[in-house]
Every structure is written in structure tokens, then in C-alpha cells.
């Protein structure tokens, strides 16, 4: 039974919102499992496993050395405990660090050759048929014209990338989009230059572990002045039992380029919690712009908190060049534990960072998520909008940092975090850090729903709406604006989310 069925909702909370949250997190739709023959590395992590992963990916010596030095460091550091999440101790030696479908040992030549179970997996996840063929790694399918909107997909199944679509078409534009293992092989100069330059292997416990054992992930390079002709996306699927997924994504937007990148993830229902520790690094050069959108829908565990994905993710964008821009949009509905702080280093002058987040936690889910905006360059701007919704016995925490360095003159930050509690057994928390070290910058942090844009409110009021209606319209309007930016397979989730209103927020 869903814990939300029995919960009384306080006055002022929109019933549609309650239903939408219930719908979203009540029954996990992607909890099925693909029965497929897998090949595993032995359980646990040690230098041999690190070497094994490196050799499976046919990596050069420098990459193996990089991993080993990260592993050496990881052995010496302790798991962080500052987040407002509690979970049983993770036994890092009781996890498989490498698992791949046996059929992926040799790349399938045609649709008929692809393991039908693998095919069915993609079909069931709702990925369009044309892409499905490509996703399953069919050679030649890429020449068939795509119907409708084009989205290139890199599909990661447990530890390996199954396939990347539209590579040829992207190549024509000069865009490199492939799995990170392929990039290490084919573009070592780019990987060498950028890997670990935003999230160094020493960054934090999970990033260090990831640096040692990451098995695959996506790589994007957009050359100077190129507007990426289609949206790029990665779909992460955890399927194997007792397996951790450690993927690494590296996105480089060279001078004056633009790319929009989407990320989706799901996993089967299991009684045993599974670990996911990813690292995403984004480099944004002069005048470039990157949009990164995520719908995180890992299995959240059942209503008693059994099973689910422990999601410890380090995501960071480095706006190196002047006038560079990055935008994080995230919808967090899954995972038993979410520990995730997509951040922006605003190094270039006039650079800009944005963070829009909707985090929904139900049952026994715990989410500790937010962002860091580190203003280093002059006239840098950042905006943070975070909406946290808790239901059941869930705990939802916004944790963020806004830092204005002494040299970040004339910079600006605006932060708004709202929380909504559905039921009296859940919690909503806000832990912002604000550090201002010059006086020409303005920093504003607020957490009230009534503080919507006065001009918009005035406009609505002048059209005869009462205050409450006007606020609701403006707030909901904003939500929709964010959600409409989420295309493709996110459409379903996004649609349900649109029904959510933040009336009755507690700030």
C-alpha cells in the first residue's frame, strides 16, 4: 500500500499536486528486470579490479595509472557524513564493479543479431523504435532518416555503453559524441587535457572512487562556433544485481558553441540497495553555452525503505571563458538516497550559472541536493530555484553554497528555495551557505512563496485575479517553464509534474 493513501493533507495544499506526487512516486514503473546473461568482474574493489576495468576498456597505460593513483587516495579517505541522510553502512567490497551483457562482447551487425532481451529493454523504456535499433548497436541503421525530432542517445547498460546514435550526422558538424571508453581510445589528447580538470580525482570520497573504477559514460566535444544540431542524451540503466554503476561524463563546449544534454536513469526493483556514484564534468569556454537536464528516476526502494539506489553524484561545470553560460535543470524523483550538488564555477568574466531543481521524495526516500555557485569572475550572475516536495516519511534537504570571491565584482545571485510537505511525517530542510567577500555584488536568498515577481503579480491582479490566484498562476507558470525544457523520454514525467503546485509551501 502506498504510504500516501492514509495521509491527511493540510488545507491549502492542492489535491492535484498530492495526486501527481502519488502518481510519480507511488508505483515505480521501471522496476522490471531484464534477464540476460552477464559477465562480471569478481566482487569487491582492489588494484586488480581497477586494472581489470582498465584492460576491459582497452585503455592506455596513462589512464590505468590515473585510476590507480585515485584508488590509492580513496583507500585513505573516509566517507562523508555531513549530509542529512542516514543509511546502513555500505560494504564497498560486496559490490560488483563491472558487469556487461555477454552479447556485448561482439558488436551486433544487424537488428536480428541483437539479443532480443536487450532490445525489449529499450522498447519497454519507451525509447523510439528507430533509435532502439541504433541503441542496440546495429551498424548501418544510422543512415535511415529519423522521424520527428532528433535526439542522439548514448545508452549505458550496467557498466558498458551499448551504443551511440547519430554519430555520423554529428560528425558532419564536427561534434564528437561517444562513450568515454571510445573517447579514451580515439581522442586521448582531449580526454587527457580535460578529464579531472573540473572534478579532480581528489575531490571527494565518491568522486575519488569513481575516478578509480568508472567503467563507462559519455563524452561530448563541441568544436568552436558550432551549435550542436540535435539534443544529446545518455540513458543509464542499472540491471544487474549487487552491481554498482560508476559512470563518467565529460562535456566540452569550445568557444562560442552550444549544446543541450539530457540524462535519464532507471533501475529494477530489488530488495538490496545498489550504489550509483557518477561524475559529470562540463567545461564551458568563451561564449559557449551548455544546458544539462536530468530526470533522475532510479528505483527509490519500497515504502519501508527496503532496496533502492544510493545515488552519490558529483556534477560540476567550469565556466572558464568570458560570457560562458551553463544551466542545470534537474527533476529528482527516484533513488533511496540522493546526494547530489550540480555546481557552477563562474571563472570567466560575465559568465552565468543557473540551477533549477524539483526534488520529490516519497515513502522513505531521502534527498540531500542543491548547488554551489562559486563566483570568481567579474560581473558573473547566478540564479538558483529549488523546489522540494516531501511526502510519506521522506526527508528532503536543499543544501547550497553561494560564494562571492573578492575579485568577483559587480556579481549577482538570486536564490529561491521552496518546500512543500504532504503529510506530517516527512521533513523539509534548507541549509544554504552564503559567503560574500566584496560589496559591489548583491546576494539574495529567500524562501517564501509569496515573494513571486511583483510585476507579474501586479499584471495578474490588474486583470481581476485575487492575490492567491495570481500567486498560484505565477508559481505554476514558472514550474511549467522549467519542465517544458525537458524533452523526449522526459515528456511523461514532465507532464505529471506540471500538475504540481507549490501552494502551501513552508519556505
Amino acid at each position: 500500500m502506498n504510504a500516501m493513501d492514509t495521509i491527511e493533507v493540510k488545507e491549502g495544499v492542492d489535491q492535484e499536486t498530492v495526486d501527481a506526487v502519488k502518481e510519480l512516486s507511488g508505483a515505480y514503473k521501471h522496476g522490471w528486470e531484464t534477464e540476460i546473461e552477464m559477465e562480471y568482474a569478481p566482487k569487491g574493489v582492489n588494484t586488480d579490479i581497477v586494472r581489470l576495468i582498465s584492460s576491459k576498456n582497452k585503455e592506455p597505460e596513462w589512464m590505468t595509472a590515473w585510476r590507480l593513483s585515485a584508488f590509492e587516495r580513496w583507500e585513505k579517505i573516509e566517507e562523508p557524513t555531513w549530509a542529512m541522510v542516514s543509511y546502513p553502512e555500505i560494504d564497498f567490497q560486496d559490490i560488483y564493479y563491472y558487469a556487461r551483457p555477454k552479447s556485448m562482447e561482439e558488436k551486433p551487425k544487424s537488428l536480428d543479431d541483437v539479443d532480443p532481451k536487450l532490445l525489449a529493454t529499450y522498447a519497454k523504456l519507451g525509447i523510439p523504435l528507430k533509435e532502439q535499433a541504433i541503441l542496440a548497436g546495429v551498424e548501418g541503421a544510422e543512415d535511415i532518416p529519423a522521424e520527428g525530432r532528433k535526439v542522439a542517445v548514448d545508452a549505458v547498460f550496467d557498466s558498458v555503453s551499448v551504443g551511440t546514435t547519430f554519430q555520423k550526422e554529428l560528425e558532419k558538424a564536427g561534434v564528437i559524441f561517444c562513450s568515454i571508453s571510445e573517447a579514451i581510445e580515439k581522442h586521448p589528447e582531449l580526454v587527457k587535457k580535460y578529464l579531472g580538470s573540473v572534478v579532480p580525482p581528489s575531490d571527494n570520497f565518491y568522486a575519488t572512487l569513481n575516478s578509480a573504477v568508472f567503467s563507462d559514460g559519455s563524452f561530448v566535444y563541441v568544436p568552436p562556433g558550432v551549435r550542436c544540431p540535435m539534443e544529446l542524451s545518455t540513458y543509464f540503466r542499472i540491471n544487474a544485481e549487487n552491481t554498482g554503476q560508476f559512470e563518467r561524463t565529460l562535456i566540452i563546449a569550445d568557444k562560442g558553441s552550444y549544446v543541450s544534454y539530457l540524462e535519464g536513469c532507471t533501475a529494477p526493483k530489488r530488495d538490496v540497495a545498489q550504489l550509483h556514484a557518477a561524475v559529470v564534468e562540463i567545461i564551458v569556454e568563451e561564449d559557449a553555452e551548455v544546458k544539462y537536464s536530468t530526470v533522475q528516476n532510479w528505483y527509490p526502494g519500497d515504502e519501508n525503505g527496503v532496496g533502492g539506489i544510493y545515488n552519490f553524484v558529483t556534477k560540476r561545470a567550469d565556466c572558464r571563458g568570458d560570457r560562458s553560460k551553463v544551466m542545470w535543470t534537474q527533476v529528482e524523483t527516484g533513488s533511496a538516497i540522493t546526494w547530489k550538488y550540480p555546481s557552477c564555477i563562474l571563472r570567466g568574466n560575465d559568465s552565468q550559472g543557473e540551477f533549477y531543481s524539483i526534488a520529490i521524495a516519497n515513502n522513505m526516500q531521502q534527498a540531500d541536493t542543491g548547488t554551489k555557485m562559486v563566483h570568481l569572475g567579474k560581473n558573473t550572475k547566478s540564479r538558483i530555484v529549488s523546489k522540494g516536495i516531501s511526502a510519506g516519511k521522506a526527508q528532503n534537504t536543499y543544501r547550497g553554497l553561494v560564494s562571492m570571491h573578492p575579485k568577483a565584482k559587480e556579481s549577482r545571485n538570486y536564490t529561491q528555495c521552496d518546500s512543500l510537505l504532504i503529510g506530517d511525517k516527512c521533513g523539509a530542510h534548507t541549509v544554504p551557505y552564503i559567503e560574500v567577500k566584496n560589496n559591489s555584488s548583491r546576494v539574495e536568498h529567500e524562501a517564501t512563496t509569496s515573494k513571486v515577481d511583483d510585476d507579474q503579480l501586479f499584471y495578474c491582479r490588474s486583470r481581476g485575479m485575487d492575490e492567491e490566484e495570481a500567486v498560484a498562476l505565477v508559481v505554476n507558470g514558472f514550474c511549467k517553464e522549467v519542465l517544458q525544457a525537458l524533452p523526449m523520454e522526459f515528456a511523461m514525467e514532465a507532464q505529471a509534474l506540471v500538475a504540481i503546485s507549490l501552494e502551501g509551501s513552508v519556505g
Binding site: H429, E446, G507
Partner: protein
């Protein structure tokens, strides 16, 4: 782990040879238990999350740094207020300089005397509220104060106290290291106003524990610092009962280091807790830290935190505020605002305004801003013929006004406003 052990070792080294003052059994027990708490927690270091913005090393060092005596003193505050003066010189009670302590509606005793009495009401408060306030955040310096406090008074208000009680802290010794602990019990429906003024000592550790009965009213106005090299850590722990009201305001002028912690626990329904502060800091060696923790554990209560800081010439302002609404504390109205006005590019404001909410029918909001003087407002005043200096001072004063408005007594607020105005004039 190694780090934690180092911290505990350092604490043991600091506490070696410390002897606790003698007293009745309960008093000795309270001090010994507090010392044990310090040993368990270890003294704070800059690496502690709760001290990330303020370096506690000068507060924990065995030797207190010296502080020159006051210069540019503008004379004592609240001279025109009819009050009971209780004077401490470098942390030692001075009966000759103090007024007669027998006042209608209140019993006042010296802490040392109360601690000799076998059965005393203060037993249920001294160190008890502090111990409760150690969760969820540890405050080892408060426990150290409970263990070592050498002087202070215990006050029990039984009715509406006719005049304010004024603690006046004088500073005469450049190397004084004072540890004071005051206890206030406001019985049901009683009412008391407490004033605190003066720089106190070169290093000052002060704790105030306040227990409010049902329907009790406690008003607190404090002015600390002024132009001085003093270092201070103060703690206020209050337990707030049904229908009672707790209001505290602090004005801080210069001083090298000030950390004011205020830990309020609302345990009765329909209670009110307000804590506010204004500070004006000038100079690189000015560091001011307001750390507030309000716990709502009752229905239909209101809490407000209003903090304003004006900083210049490299001054640092810190605000760590938290509203914790426990499960079941429905109809809570929690408000928190922290703002800083940075008058130049060297000054900094570091804030951590937190909310932790476990009840769904509540209205909690917080805001935090930081910025320079509004150029448009400045231009407007200049265009009306106001000099640059006057315009800046006027805008600074109006920025601080919201915090000063939290003072219930208009006359007291006016006197502090006047002080502020003169401070600004002197520093412009």
C-alpha cells in the same frame, strides 16, 4: 578519527590542572558533569562545521590575549532609566558599586552564595538548560563556562518586577579573563526586563540561562563591545513555556571577536520568541558572529530572528541561524532574516540560515541578503542637498532600524539609536 583524537588530546592538555570551584553537592555535581561534557566533545577548532566562519582559538587558549582599556568612551548607557544596577568589574561582583538588591517582585543572589545552599531553585536550571542545548549541535564553550564560572547572579522574578535589572560590566585590567554565569527564573505570569552593558573584560565568557514559567515575560536588551579589543563568547539558553514571551536584542559596536550564541527551546503552546541584533563593525580585526538556534516543540508558537550588520574597512560578519520545527509543532510561524550592508570591498558577510522542518502545517521563511548602499537612494538624498556623509549615515541607520524596532521599550530603543548615530558620525 585521528583528527578527533588530536582534538580530545588538546582539550585534555587545556583542562589539565583545572580545579572546579567548591559549593553544595548539586553545584559540584553540575560543574563536574559540565567538565565531563567538555571532555567528551572536545574544545572547538576552526575545522568544526559550527566554527567554519569563526576561529575559536583565542577563546580556547589557556592564556587570554590582552585588551587595552576603553578609549573614546561615550559614558555609560541607560543613565536615565530607573533600574537596579549590578556591577561586575573584570568579571567580579562589586557590591559597593551596585545598588541594593532588594527589589519588589524579585529575589537576587550572588551565584557563589546560591551554590552554597543545599536546596536551591537554581539547581534545576544551572547547567541544565545548557546541557539540553548541547543537542543536536555541541557547544563545548558553554559547558566550559558552566564548569568554571567564577561569579554571576541568580534572579527569580515572582511578579511584575518594577524596574529593569542592569548588569554593568566594567573593564579595568588589560589582562582580565572573566567567566560569568547568570541564571534567571521568571515564575508564571511574572515579568522582568534585563539590561546588559559594558565591555566586561579582555576575554569574556558569559552564559545566561533563562527559564520562563507559563505566561511569563522576559525582555532583554544588551549593548556590548564599543571601541575595544575585547574578545567575547556569550551563550543564552532559554526554555520557553506556554503563553510566555521571550525577547532579546543585542547591539554590538567594535570589539575584536564576538560570538553570541542564542539557543531557544519553545516547549509550551502559544509562546513567542524573538531574538534580534544589530552590529556595526569597523576594521580588519573586527569579527562578529551571531549563532542562533530556535527549536519549536509546541503548537501555535511564533519565532523571529532579525539580524543586521554594517561592516566596513575589512570587518567580518557571520550569521548562523536555524529554525527547527519538531514533528507535531503545527501552526508554527517562524521568521528569519539576516542582512548585511558592506560599506567597502574588503568587508565580508558569511551566512548559514537554516531551516529544518518536520511539521506540515507551518509557515517558515527565511531571507538573507548582502550588498552595498543603494546608489539610487544615495543619489536621491544628495539631490536634496544632503551631504555625502550624512546621506550614507542616514541610509545605514535606516538599514539597522528594522532590528532596533524589535526592542519593545521605545525609550531604550531611542537611546541605542542615538548611540548608533553618534558612532556613525565618529567613524565617518
Amino acid at each position: 578519527m585521528a583528527l578527533a583524537q588530536m582534538k580530545l588530546d588538546a582539550t585534555e592538555a587545556r583542562l589539565a590542572g583545572v580545579t572546579l570551584p567548591d559549593g553544595a553537592v548539586w553545584a559540584r555535581d553540575a560543574r563536574a558533569a559540565a567538565l565531563e561534557r567538555v571532555r567528551q566533545m572536545g574544545l572547538p577548532t576552526k575545522r568544526d562545521e559550527y566554527w567554519r566562519y569563526t576561529d575559536p582559538s583565542s577563546l580556547t587558549a589557556a592564556e587570554a590575549p590582552t585588551a587595552a582599556l576603553l578609549e573614546n568612551d561615550e559614558g555609560p548607557l541607560f543613565e536615565d532609566v530607573d533600574r537596579v544596577r549590578i556591577v561586575f568589574v573584570d568579571g567580579v561582583f562589586d557590591p559597593a558599586a551596585s545598588d541594593d538588591l532588594s527589589t519588589e517582585g524579585v529575589e537576587i543572589e550572588r551565584l557563589a552564595d546560591a551554590m552554597q545552599v543545599d536546596i536551591h531553585w537554581a539547581k534545576d536550571i544551572y547547567g541544565v538548560l545548557e546541557a539540553r542545548g548541547q543537542k543536536p549541535v555541541e557547544r563545548p564553550l558553554a559547558a566550559l563556562n558552566t564548569a568554571l564560572a567564577t561569579d554571576g547572579v541568580v534572579i527569580r522574578a515572582t511578579g511584575k518586577v518594577s524596574k529593569p535589572i542592569n548588569f554593568i560590566y566594567l573593564h579595568n585590567d588589560v589582562a582580565s579573563d572573566a567567566v560569568l554565569h547568570n541564571v534567571v527564573k521568571v515564575e508564571a505570569d511574572a515579568e522582568i526586563t534585563l539590561l546588559e552593558t559594558g565591555p566586561a573584560a579582555a576575554r569574556f565568557s558569559k552564559q545566561l540561562e533563562v527559564e520562563l514559567g507559563e505566561g511569563a515575560v522576559f525582555n532583554h536588551v544588551r549593548a556590548q563591545g564599543r571601541d575595544h579589543e575585547r574578545r567575547a563568547v556569550t551563550h543564552c539558553f532559554a526554555r520557553i513555556a506556554e503563553n510566555s514571551s521571550f525577547k532579546s536584542f543585542t547591539l554590538t559596536f567594535n570589539g575584536v571577536l564576538t560570538r553570541n550564541e542564542c539557543v531557544l527551546e519553545i516547549v509550551g503552546d502559544n509562546a513567542v520568541a524573538h531574538v534580534a541584533g544589530a552590529c556595526v563593525g569597523d576594521g580588519k580585526d573586527f569579527h562578529h558572529d551571531d549563532t542562533v538556534f530556535v527549536t519549536h516543540d509546541a503548537v501555535n508558537c511564533e519565532s523571529r530572528q532579525v539580524f543586521k550588520k554594517v561592516l566596513r574597512n575589512g570587518a567580518t560578519g557571520v550569521f548562523q541561524g536555524k529554525i527547527l520545527v519538531k514533528e507535531g509543532a503545527q501552526k508554527t510561524d517562524g521568521y528569519q532574516i539576516s542582512q548585511s550592508l558592506l560599506l567597502d570591498d574588503d568587508s565580508q558577510f558569511l551566512a548559514k540560515p537554516e531551516l529544518e522542518i518536520y511539521a506540515d502545517d507551518v509557515a517558515c521563511s527565511h531571507g538573507s541578503t548582502s550588498g552595498a548602499i543603494d546608489e539610487t537612494a544615495l543619489f536621491y538624498l544628495r539631490s536634496r542637498g544632503v551631504s555625502m556623509t550624512d546621506a550614507r549615515n542616514l541610509l545605514t541607520l535606516s538599514f539597522l532600524a528594522e532590528a532596533l524596532e524589535e526592542i519593545a521599550d521605545e525609550a531604550l530603543a531611542e537611546e541605542l539609536r542615538d548611540r548608533l548615530e553618534r558612532w556613525l558620525a565618529r567613524h565617518s
